[in-house]
Subunit: 197 residues, 2 copies
Amino acid sequence: MGTLAPPTRDRLLVAAKELIEDGGYAAASVVAIAERAGVAAGTLYRHFASKEELFVEVFRSVCEREERTMRVAAAEMGDTASAAERLQAVFTTFARRALRNPRLAWALIAEPVDPRVDAERIAYRERYAELVAAGLSAGIAAGELPRQDVKLTAAALVGGCGEALVGPLSPLSAGDPDAEEIVAALRTFVGRAVGMR
Amino acid sequence: MGTLAPPTRDRLLVAAKELIEDGGYAAASVVAIAERAGVAAGTLYRHFASKEELFVEVFRSVCEREERTMRVAAAEMGDTASAAERLQAVFTTFARRALRNPRLAWALIAEPVDPRVDAERIAYRERYAELVAAGLSAGIAAGELPRQDVKLTAAALVGGCGEALVGPLSPLSAGDPDAEEIVAALRTFVGRAVGMR
DNA sequence: TACCATTGTGAATCGAGATTCACAAGGAGG
DNA sequence: CCTCCTTGTGAATCTCGATTCACAATGGTA
């Protein structure tokens, strides 16, 4: 047998992700997911103990990819880059990806969900914040950045950038000038906020 | 008759607010609200067309007070204060109040709700952001602050500070060192982020 | 007293989804 | 061919909270 037809389980995961991508969690009901995957509602329960379990898995795979991408972006800056530049690279990457897929980004960053899925969401946000906090600490140790409460700065930046980009008070909500312009403005903001010289 | 017993309508509003204060929207079901107000569930519908309408009213009254308090804080700085100092005062006030009542603050700022209530929530967030944006613009016009995308900075600050203080990735979630220490760290962060000299 | 408006009651009803379950439909092994 | 196991089906069921509604009280007015 060829690998032409993905197994049902995978089709369910993909269907759920796609539905969330353009309608948020509300659009991803069990019936809708099953329909998009081309199976009956009951079939979902042959592969997942519950809808939440499926969501958790979708979450993990998407967030892992995001985190990896941001780490790579920081690493790719090379040895000559300053800590602040590395952090700007992280947020620039974050921003470009979020702007490309705002609905999904919103779902990952802030949209509310059932407790178990929420726990997963918060765990990944914390990983993003830790990534940022580590960058800040490195910069402070190297004397490039001013002393500061790194946890607070990291949380404010992760939360704030997420909000500013895809949140309900995003400037984007009304009229999207140009993604690259926004990315540039965000880069400036991050630079100032971390205390870049 | 004296004014000793508040009218039912007011008791329902207060009950809803108190429930949200320490359990978020999830805790504020119609039955719970009615019970706390000392009436039957059906009574709520004698005073409000729906649960959402009641929430909208709770929202308005709380947010109006918050906004007023922040404006006053900015104004009280006097004529000698710089734009950055005024903005720091706004966020310091915001932070103290949020730290005193984190659950309510989170509900007002970010917790998701039904669309109609959400519209109200977003409207007030925008007013906070506009307040900040106006302060930024004044500072730029006066040559005190660097040119920047004021809407983005304002959105990132409002969202970010809310998140950092009471959000799911708040450093406070695990161990509360000291409110004033956090307020101080936030003041520093805001100063840097707006480009204070 | 009779009448009507307002306010309160709380059990019954609704609605929207998630979840279950009795019943196929293959397919592998004996 | 028989049996067991896995996977799929989709209508029926369950859950849970908002909402309704037939039925009191209460109080004011004619």
